[in-house]
C-alpha cells in the first residue's frame, strides 16, 4: 500500500511539476493549492495511464482523500 501511495505521489508531482509536494493518505484536494479541478482531471488520467486501468465515475466520486484512491488502485490488482 505504501508503494501505491508513493507512486501516486510521484504521479502528482509530475502532473503539477513540483517535486516538493507530499501526499499522505489523509490528504484531500483542499489541502493542496495546485490540486484544482483542472489538475484533478489531469491527475486521474495520468493514474489510469500508469496503472493501465479505467475507473468508473462512481468510483472517482467516492474518493474522499488520497487513501481512498490508494484503496481503489489496490483493488485493481
Amino acid at each position: 500500500m505504501a508503494e501505491i501511495l508513493e507512486t501516486l505521489n510521484r504521479i502528482f508531482q509530475d502532473v503539477v511539476d513540483d517535486k516538493n509536494i507530499i501526499l499522505k493518505r489523509e490528504t484531500t484536494a483542499q489541502d493542496v493549492d495546485e490540486w484544482d479541478s483542472l489538475n484533478h482531471i489531469t491527475f486521474i488520467v495520468a493514474i489510469e495511464k500508469h496503472f493501465k486501468a479505467k475507473f468508473t465515475t462512481a468510483e472517482i466520486r467516492s474518493w474522499k482523500n488520497v487513501g481512498d484512491m490508494c484503496d481503489s488502485i489496490a483493488r485493481l490488482a
Binding site: L38, I41, V45
Partner: protein, 578 residues
C-alpha cells in the same frame, strides 16, 4: 509530445521567445487545450499569450464589439466548436430544415468571420473543423441521405474549405483528418466528455496543439522550403555503388514499393514548390545513374534543384546546398536512413529538421507524413517553377565563371524587368514574398493580402513589384517595395527582395523607380529604415551601399534633387504607374 510534457513546458522560461496574442473561443471546456497550445508554443519558440473566453461564449464574444475578446486585442482568433455541441444543435433542428444544416452553419461561420474582420484589423483566424462522427442513427445509410448527421458534418467540413478558399486570413485546423488518423475512439475520453464537458481526450490535445502551432508558424513566415534527401537506402533500397543499377530496389516489387512511394511524395512536394536537393556519399556520376537509367525511378534529375554526391562530410555539403539555394537552416528538412549521418548533421546544424527515420522503409512515408513538415499558408503558380529557377541559376553560374568582368556578365544575361504597382494579379505572390523573405527584408513587416489591397487604393501609398527575366529563364516576381508619402518625404515602408536576384542590379533599378516616384509626388527626400532581425543582417548596410545618409537610429535619408540614377543592365517594361 504527450500532454504532461506540454504542461511541464508552462513552467519553463519563455524569455526571448516571440510573443503572440491569441484568443481561444470554444463551446466546450477548453482549459486543458489552452495549456496544451501554450505548452506546444514553447517547442516552437513562441510565448503565446492566450485569452481564453469563458465557457461557450463564441457568439457573444464575437458579436458584442466591446467584449473581452476585442479588449484582448488578439493577433489570432481560434474558434473551436465541438462535434458534440454540433450534434445537439442538429438534433434540435427541425427535420424539415436538416438538409440545409451544413449550409446554415457555414453561413453562420461566415457571419462570425465578417464580424471578427470588422472588429480586429489584420486578425488571423484559425477555425477547427469537425470530427466526422457517425451517430449510428442511419448506419452506413448515412452516406445515402442528407438527413443524417454524418452527411451534414462532412458537407459542413467541405463548406468550411470553401469558406477558407474565399477568406484569405482563415486557416482550418483540420480536426477531421487529425481525429481520423488518431482514431476517434481514442480522441474522446467519454468520462471527461460527460462529466467535464471536454471535447477531446488529454491524449489527443497535443495533436490539436501541434495543428494550431503549425499554422501560427507558417503564418508568421517560418515555413520549410527544402527537402534534402540521401540516396542509398533512402530513395532506393541497396547501395548503387556496390549493387549496380539493375539491383537497387525501387518499383512495384517488395521493398522497392516503399521507396517508390517516398519518391512520389517528394515529387508532389517539388510540384508544390518545395525544393529537392540530393546529398549523398557517393561517386557523383554513379549516383546519377538510377535517375538516368532505372525505368522505375519516379524522380528525375529535372526534379532536383541541386545534386551533391561526393565523399565530403554531409555537414559541408548541406552548407553548400544551403548557400546555393539561399535559404535558412530552419527551412531545411534532411532525410537520411543512417543514424550516424543524422546525428552529425543534427549536432553541427541544430536548426535543420532531421526526422529520425524508422528502421523499416515501409514506415518511412507514413512516419514523415505524420510529422506535417510542410505546412504553408499560400500556394501560387510561381511555387511550381522554383526548381527550374535553380537549374537556370546553375547555368548562370557557369556563364558567370566565363566572365571576369562583373558588368560584362550582367550585360550578357539580357535581363528585362516588368514593373507593376499592386494589382489583383500580383498581390497574392507579393504577399507571399513579404511573408517568406527573411534576409533581404529591411523592416520585416508581414503584411496580408488585405493590407496590400488597401495600399493599392490608398492615396498616400506607392507600390512597386518587380518581375525579372533573363536569357536563361524567368525569376518571376522577386521584389516588392512599398512607399508612403508623408509631406515632403517618401518613406520606404517595405523593401523586400528574393535572394535569387542578389547582385543582379535590381536594387539599383528599384531605387531609381523609388526616386522617380518621389519626384512625381513632389517629395524632396526619401527615407529608409533598417530594422534588425536575427535573419536580415544581409541588408544591414543596404542604405549605406545605396549612398543614403545615415541619420542615426536606423534611419537613412536620400536627397531627391541631387540623385543620380544608378547603373544597371536591366531593360524595363511598365504596365502602370505606382
Amino acid at each position: 509530445m504527450r500532454f504532461l510534457e506540454l504542461k511541464k513546458n508552462l513552467k519553463k522560461d519563455f524569455s526571448g521567445f516571440k510573443k503572440v496574442k491569441i484568443a481561444l473561443l470554444g463551446d466546450s471546456a477548453t482549459q486543458h487545450l489552452t495549456q496544451a497550445i501554450r505548452g506546444y508554443g514553447y517547442e516552437a519558440g513562441f510565448d503565446l499569450e492566450i485569452f481564453e473566453a469563458d465557457y461557450d461564449q463564441i457568439d457573444r464574444q464575437i458579436l458584442y464589439s466591446f467584449s473581452e475578446l476585442y479588449q484582448s486585442r488578439p493577433e489570432y482568433v481560434i474558434l473551436f466548436q465541438s462535434v458534440q455541441k454540433l450534434k445537439k444543435k442538429f438534433y434540435n433542428t427541425d427535420i424539415s430544415q436538416r438538409n440545409l444544416f451544413a449550409q446554415d452553419e457555414a453561413k453562420r461561420f461566415g457571419g462570425l468571420l465578417a464580424e471578427l474582420n470588422k472588429n480586429i484589423q489584420g486578425v488571423k483566424i484559425i477555425l477547427a473543423n469537425f470530427m466526422e462522427l457517425n451517430d449510428s442513427v442511419f448506419g452506413q445509410y448515412a452516406n445515402k441521405t442528407n438527413m443524417s448527421f454524418l452527411y451534414q458534418i462532412r458537407h459542413l467540413n467541405c463548406e468550411l474549405m470553401e469558406l477558407a478558399l474565399k477568406t484569405k486570413n482563415l486557416s482550418i485546423c483540420d480536426i477531421a483528418s487529425l481525429t481520423s488518423a488518431f482514431g476517434q475512439a481514442a480522441a474522446i475520453d467519454n468520462r471527461n466528455h460527460i462529466y467535464a464537458d471536454m471535447a477531446f481526450s488529454l491524449d489527443f490535445l497535443p495533436y490539436i496543439a501541434k495543428g494550431t502551432i503549425d499554422i501560427v508558424q507558417a503564418v508568421s513566415g517560418a515555413s520549410r522550403k527544402c527537402l534534402i534527401l540521401d540516396l542509398d537506402n533512402t530513395l532506393w533500397g541497396g547501395i548503387i555503388g556496390d549493387d549496380g543499377v539493375e539491383n537497387i530496389q525501387v518499383g512495384d516489387l517488395e521493398q522497392g514499393k516503399a521507396f517508390t512511394e517516398l519518391q512520389y511524395w517528394a515529387r508532389e512536394l517539388e510540384r508544390r514548390g518545395i525544393m529537392l536537393a540530393i546529398c549523398s556519399k557517393n561517386d557523383g556520376d554513379i549516383a546519377k545513374i538510377p535517375f538516368e537509367k532505372h525505368p522505375d525511378m519516379v524522380l528525375t534529375l529535372d526534379d532536383i534543384a541541386i545534386f551533391v554526391a561526393n565523399w565530403d562530410s554531409k555537414v559541408d555539403n548541406i552548407k553548400k546546398i544551403k548557400s546555393f539555394l539561399n535559404i535558412s537552416y530552419d527551412s531545411i528538412v534532411f532525410i537520411d536512413d543512417n543514424p550516424y549521418e543524422r546525428g552529425v548533421v543534427r549536432h553541427h546544424l541544430p536548426e535543420i529538421t532531421v526526422p529520425d527515420l524508422p528502421e523499416d522503409p515501409a514506415d518511412y512515408l507514413p512516419f514523415l507524413c505524420g510529422l506535417n513538415l510542410f505546412e504553408t499558408t499560400a500556394y501560387t503558380l510561381d511555387d511550381r517553377k522554383r526548381t527550374a529557377y535553380f537549374q537556370q541559376e546553375l547555368k548562370r553560374e557557369i556563364t558567370q565563371s566565363a566572365y571576369t568582368d562583373e558588368r560584362e556578365f550582367l550585360k550578357s544575361l539580357g535581363m528585362t524587368c516588368e514593373i507593376d504597382p499592386f494589382s489583383t494579379f500580383n498581390i497574392p505572390r507579393a504577399t507571399q514574398l513579404l511573408q517568406r523573405s527573411n534576409q533581404f527584408n529591411l523592416r520585416t513587416i508581414r503584411y496580408t493580402e488585405e493590407d496590400l489591397q488597401h495600399f493599392s487604393t490608398s492615396d498616400v501609398h506607392l507600390s512597386w513589384t518587380f518581375s525579372v527575366h533573363d536569357q536563361f529563364g524567368s525569376y518571376g516576381l522577386i521584389s516588392v517595395v512599398i512607399g508612403r508619402i508623408d509631406g515632403e518625404e517618401l518613406f520606404i515602408d517595405t523593401w523586400v527582395m528574393s535572394c535569387r536576384v542578389l547582385k543582379r542590379g535590381v536594387e539599383n533599378l528599384a531605387l531609381n523607380e523609388i526616386v522617380n516616384g518621389a519626384q512625381r509626388r513632389g517629395a524632396r527626400r526619401v527615407r529608409g529604415e533598417y530594422t534588425s532581425t536575427p535573419k536580415n543582417g544581409l541588408v544591414k548596410d543596404h542604405y549605406r551601399n545605396l549612398d543614403f545618409t545615415d541619420a542615426g537610429y536606423g534611419q537613412w535619408t536620400l536627397d531627391v534633387a541631387s540623385y543620380k540614377p544608378r547603373e544597371h543592365f536591366i531593360s524595363t517594361t511598365k504596365i502602370g504607374d505606382a
